[in-house]
Symmetry: none
Subunit: 410 residues, 2 copies
């Protein structure tokens, strides 16, 4: 069945709020077996709301609205639904009584205009709102369903979970969609797709790639008659996917890359230190995203000045001969960080995050050195991006190199 | 003129990402004099994309798309626009050359499929993307405009600001809306609104507050017949706003807080060092967001272990008596960072970023010490948030404290 989401409120079109309701609902629909094809944000305008609902009834089976069910003149969701269906809202005495009691409990009198919140239409019924004054609507007509819920996120979430979702689940029979995520580090989206090859054309299960801030996410999705059958399909598909991207897969949905790398260090009893020039603290900050990082991360040095580099053991000769941005300098920093902190593993970075060239070193250049007990691996990369992104991607890449070398050393 | 936003990508319909692009663009349109009536999220499906573009051309003057301009088979925005307009995309040799160079600079070969990113149609031209591989499209036909930009937010923001917005501004005549932004640090949104009082009800110019990752932004917007008149209105309004939030205003639209603090240090010839436990490198990373930070930022120490704290001069007695999370320990770290690095100004942090309590210190506790030439100021704060947010806000607060003390010392 096809579902459609309408997020209603002029504040969305003015950019005053981000539409997190659509995101919440979008995540909920696959488990109900609903295919979501359309999401729209509509202002508080009766004509445009009517158009959106009419179009929704033509192309979708289920329309899920949030917003526009308050008591003010701007709240027009009920009016638009009633108009499109050609039905007249009438006050439900039982609901009106509940609303009045809600105000009485708070020591207030219900304003006259709130009475419109106590209405329903012949094809509909109301959805109670135990934590607010705006009840929802559940409308069934000609095989189509319209759900209208409040726009306030915590009220909508509760009404969805307690009222709308169970009603939808009961109505919808047939197949389910089940998904699983794999996360990759150290590879870009295009190269990941090339490595996956024909698997990206698989129709059931499907395989989709997403570039995220913590790497590439692969989403494996199976459609089947039952949850068990869908899970079984994924069990068979996942190893085929993993085989093609084995070098880069670090975990699933709930895994974070810093925690995955940290777990290896913890398990092997290794202690880590970093010496950062180019990444300016971003690498230490990435490493300390993992709870319990103090188990293995002993010290970070942000060596922004030549003086700080010398203090960590980079010799005046190396600095004079190679400059502050150079492979030899980065190697000396990695060794220095390890020795100064007593760690057995270290990472060092030097480079130029921009925006201006310095020491004739081009903007975007980054040297990374990983040092495991004195064995060093060097990498030189060039980024064409902002200073912030340079630091973020450089830190990711540096941690990826450490992870790769730790796996090789296993 | 009517504008419409299309956010393109199946990941939006699967709820994997929140559509912050539509929110960013919605905030930008009023200053161009564009009325936004429709926002939609569309999946990576050629038929539905074509329908959305066709409908957009019927009901809007300007269609602004983000997403779907990557190199993969799922990226169909270009194809859909060309189909609807009945035009054929052809490769632009100059653009293809630029794309190949982008890959060469990173020491990689451009995958064959990326060639489709080098195409345009007869009614269109491309918008350069200096920080990514996905160029945008600018299409003008029959008095309508279609803009297609990448979905990656920082690439889209840059392309909007440098390419799309100026082109639109040039095309759109008539009354103007002119805005100016003031940025605040060290204050929350509610308190900022309290301080601003009745000014938030002003109708022209208007005053709106937004909570952003780098502090509270105040948006002052004037409507007038000419740009000059709108600017004149803002010239009169701005001082009245600034007066109420004088303690927290650090700059305008193009100012970044790290650069503002850095400019003071540079001007006074001061050298800065930091010693971070709780903020784990995030404070150094924040400071090094400012280009040229090496002028004044000499060294950062991420002292995650007790050993690293001792190495920076925290005495065993202080650690034994107060623990690793304590005001006295933070004071010793601030003094130690200054002395070890030769800096005259320092900041130190200790605390518990969570998720678990340690040493009986509650989750969310943060000690900050700012040390200016030996004069120390201490602050204790409690955050109820995630580990990532704790580090981010803690680093912001620490830098705010330094800024406040530098201003007081002036």
């Amino acid at each position: 069945m096809r579902a459609e989401i309408l997020s209603i409120g002029t504040e969305l079109l003015l950019g005053q709020i981000v539409d997190t309701n659509a995101n919440f609902l979008a995540q909920q629909l696959p488990t109900l077996g609903l295919d979501l094809y359309y999401v729209s944000q509509i202002g508080d305008n009766l004509q445009r709301l009517r158009d959106a609902i009419r179009r929704g009834l033509e192309r979708s089976d289920v329309i899920i609205c949030s917003g526009g069910v308050g008591p003010t003149e701007d709240d027009l969701t009920r009016e638009a639904i009633a108009d499109v269906l050609g039905e007249t809202p009438t006050v439900q005495p039982e609901l009106e009584k509940q609303l009045r009691e809600f105000f009485t409990r708070r020591g207030r009198t219900m304003p006259a205009r709130n009475v419109k919140q106590a209405t329903t239409i012949p094809s509909g019924t109301y959805l109670p709102n135990p934590i607010g004054t705006a009840p929802g609507w559940w409308v069934e007509r000609d095989g189509k369903i319209i759900v209208a819920m409040p726009g306030v996120p915590h009220e909508m979430h509760k009404m969805w979970e307690e009222q709308a979702q169970p009603r939808l689940a009961k109505l919808i029979s047939g197949g389910v969609i089940f998904s699983r995520t794999l996360k990759l580090a150290g590879i870009g989206e295009s190269h990941a797709e090339e490595a996956l090859g024909d698997l990206t054309h698989s129709t059931n299960p499907t395989l989709a790639t997403y570039a995220k801030s913590d790497g590439i996410h692969l989403r494996l999705t199976a459609k089947a008659a039952t949850q068990q059958e869908a899970e079984r399909q994924l069990e068979a598909f996942e190893p085929r996917v993993k085989e093609r991207v084995a070098d880069w897969v670090y975990g699933g949905e709930s895994d974070s890359f810093p925690a995955v790398v940290g777990a290896i260090l913890r398990e092997r009893g290794l202690k880590l230190a970093v010496a950062e020039s180019a990444t300016g603290g971003q690498l230490a900050s990435l490493i300390t995203e993992a709870p319990g990082a103090s188990d293995y991360f002993v010290a970070g040095y942000v060596v922004y000045s030549a003086e700080a580099k010398r203090a960590l053991g980079v010799s005046p000769e190396v600095l004079r001969e190679h400059g502050t941005v150079a492979e030899a300098t980065t190697q000396a920093l990695a060794a220095g960080a390890r020795q100064a902190s007593g760690a057995n593993v270290s990472i060092a970075t030097t480079g130029n995050a921009g925006p201006d060239a310095s020491e004739d070193k081009p903007v975007g250049l980054l040297h990374i050195v990983v040092d495991i007990g004195g064995r060093q691996v060097c990498q030189e990369t060039r980024y064409s991006t902002t200073r912030t992104e340079y630091k973020r991607r450089g830190a990711q890449e540096a941690l990826y190199l450490l992870w790769r070398e730790l796996k090789r050393a296993a």
